[in-house]
């Protein structure tokens, strides 16, 4: 299913230490006219592909800054612009939840959203408000937000971003996160450029960090909800499930598209935030066209290039497919390289996952030609 990373605002009420969006030049919020155009384009795409569905993932900035009226207007525009296709449009949202109100819950529900993705860090001054990054106020408002979600019968999942500050306390953080939420995703901090470099970690540090967490997760895996990446790798090893998140699976070429506040099209949030890819503007480009842009061929062909290049002979090829293409683009200027985080995948799987679980991986389940 195509996923549109949909950024209607780049404003944010927080000042998280590792965030790229708040540091770059900020575009104005998406206008109602542009919003209407997006739904019109989505409708055109779905009308031409009756078997297809689309997911709009609302990203920010902080989406809730748009307000309940804006989100309700989006739901109305979808009704108006997509009369025959609206049942094939789903929405998801990533929010810091600190601004959540009952009105916003109702507005999210109008878009069919019953689950919210969010982020949290219990360590001081990683996520917070204002210049001094007030994490105490932030955390209180966050917990109020998740309580309100639950009270409203909505579910939520948590992304934890591993930074330099996290490295000393993997066990404590594992306990904290699994006490906090039944759905947790543990990702490395992505630093592009010099800003926030003091929080940056290496692939080995990330692998060792999640390795320590894995030691706790493995014997208790039946009791926790979905803790990723462990559940992803476990599913992949046991059943060849391909549910790896994009940065770990390297399979986003066909189905990711980014739309920014002013209609700018890119591949994904990272490729847009880091100014790596430009597919044009939704004003003069349909979604079908954006998916078939010449530049996108490079993303689709990446698997072939890597299988005979950087990843040749790697027994984990079938797991990660070279990792996130945007990493290659950011650090090498092209898509012909594997992600620097592939080292983390290799170290984690060979040093921790396989020895502890006793599970083995016997090579790629899919051929290179098959993927391409």
């Amino acid at each position: 299913m195509p996923t549109i990373i949909f950024k209607a605002t780049e404003r944010c009420n927080a000042n998280c230490a590792y965030c790229d969006v708040i540091r770059k030049g900020r575009a104005p919020d998406m206008s109602m006219g542009m919003l209407k155009l997006v739904f019109t384009r989505v409708n055109d795409y779905l009308k031409a592909r009756p078997e297809q569905r689309i997911n709009l993932t609302w990203h920010g900035g902080e989406v809730l800054l748009l307000g309940a009226d804006y989100l309700a207007a989006a739901a109305r525009l979808q009704e108006d612009c997509c009369p025959g296709t609206k049942s094939r449009i789903s929405h998801s949202v990533q929010s810091n939840l600190t601004l959540l109100t009952r009105e916003l819950v109702a507005a999210l529900r109008k878009l069919g959203i019953n689950n919210v993705g969010t982020s949290y860090d219990p360590l001081e001054r990683v996520r917070g408000f204002g210049g001094d990054r007030d994490s105490d106020s932030y955390n209180r408002r966050f917990l109020r937000g998740v309580s309100l979600l639950e009270e409203s019968g909505m579910t939520w999942g948590l992304i934890y971003v591993v930074t330099k500050k996290s490295l000393a306390v993997p066990g404590e953080l594992f306990r904290f996160l699994t006490n906090m939420s039944a759905r947790v995703m543990i990702n490395p901090v992505l630093i592009y450029g010099k800003e926030g470099a003091e929080l940056g970690i290496t692939a080995r540090e990330y692998a060792d960090f999640i390795g320590e967490m894995f030691k706790l997760w493995w014997p208790e895996r039946g009791r926790h909800g979905v803790i990723r990446p462990f559940a992803e790798y476990y599913g992949h090893y046991m059943k060849r499930e391909t549910g790896l998140v994009c940065v770990r699976g390297g399979c986003c070429g066909e189905d990711h598209l980014y739309i920014g506040p002013e209609g700018r099209l890119s591949h994904c949030s990272s490729s847009a935030d880091w100014n790596l890819v430009n597919y044009g503007n939704i004003r003069d480009t349909g979604i079908e066209e954006a998916f078939s842009r010449t530049k996108r061929r490079d993303w689709l062909d990446r698997s072939k290039t890597l299988a005979s290049g950087d990843c040749k002979g790697c027994r984990f090829w079938g797991v990660c497919h070279g990792g996130c293409p945007a990493d290659s683009l950011a650090f090498h200027g092209d898509l012909r390289h594997k992600s620097g985080w592939c080292a983390a995948t290799k170290i984690f799987l060979s040093k921790y996952f396989e020895p502890i679980s006793g599970l083995g991986y016997d090579g790629p389940p899919d051929s290179v030609a098959g993927r391409a």
Binding site: S147, E172, M180
Partner: protein, 278 residues
């Protein structure tokens, strides 16, 4: 689902109060077991959460045939002498009733005996002195014991709910704040049994439409989660999920930690074994 669907009012047995509580599920308290049938008729099965009967011991408790399926909960100081309840063993065993005691060493031993006699029991670990070591021994008996025995609370609750992030065993004691609201005979409403005793009311059944049950429930949820504002202590305890310790401050050495960790581990094992044996 409306706010009133989520809430349970804990009320004394009084017909006016039952009438005022219309629209809510209710847990009805009484000191007289003979009220059980009258309570069930006055409230109706679909609205009755449980009937809670307070007494000293099990001596003299007889469960009439027509009460066997009623959700009876007994809050007792102790089990009492075996000889005093032995004549009623069969009817106690065959009923839905559960007998709760404070978690003193004597009562923990009694719970084990009663469990082996197939009588449903529970230990109150929400307040008062608890013998955690004896509780852990009983947990091993309950979770690993091969001989047939009846369930013991809060172990059963933990085995069933340990994956549920909203679970709070205090609901066994009608004390899950934001879900259970305690009322007195005048219809005053409080957030807990303790708050009711202290007359800290949040409203009255006479004007229940003015009580923001939804807001109070949200506040209680936040309060329970407040421990997660600290990185340390309860928030990183392996047993926190089943413990949900709410009222104390952060402590360096928690007396509950070892037991609660054992309880969450046992819950995992019990479920794994159930799954493997299926």
């Amino acid at each position: 689902m409306t706010d009133t669907d989520k809430c349970v009012l804990v009320i004394p047995f009084s017909r006016p109060v039952i009438e005022k509580a219309e629209g809510f599920r209710v847990a009805v308290r009484s000191n007289n077991l003979d009220d059980a049938g009258r309570i069930a008729r006055a409230v109706g099965c679909d609205r009755l959460h449980c009937i809670e009967v307070s007494a000293g011991s099990m001596a003299g408790i007889r469960i009439r045939d027509e009460w066997r399926k009623l959700p009876l909960i007994f809050r007792l100081k102790s089990a009492g002498r075996f000889l005093d309840y032995a004549p009623a063993l069969e009817e106690l065993r065959d009923s839905a009733a559960r007998f709760y005691f404070p978690a003193s060493p004597e009562n923990i031993s009694a719970a084990r005996v009663l469990s082996s006699l197939m009588i449903k029991t529970g230990l109150e670990i929400c307040n008062g002195e608890v013998d955690w070591e004896a509780m852990e021994d009983l947990l091993v008996y309950d979770s690993c014991g091969r001989s047939a025995h009846s369930s013991v609370e809060p172990f059963l609750y933990s085995y069933t709910e340990y994956k549920n992030m909203q679970a709070d065993y205090n609901e066994l004691y009608l004390e899950k704040e934001g879900v259970f609201f305690h009322c007195d005979a005048e219809g005053n409403i409080a957030l807990s049994g303790g708050a009711l005793e202290r007359k800290e009311f949040v409203g009255t059944l006479n004007k229940k439409e003015e009580v923001d049950f939804s807001g109070l429930s949200l506040a209680a949820r936040e309060k329970r989660r407040a421990r997660l504002l600290e990185f340390g202590g309860c928030s990183i305890c392996p047993g926190w999920r089943v413990c949900g310790f709410r009222d104390g401050g952060l402590v360096a050495v928690c007396p509950r930690k070892q037991f609660m960790t054992a309880l969450v581990n046992s819950s995992g094992e019990v479920n794994k074994n159930a799954h493997d044996n299926f």
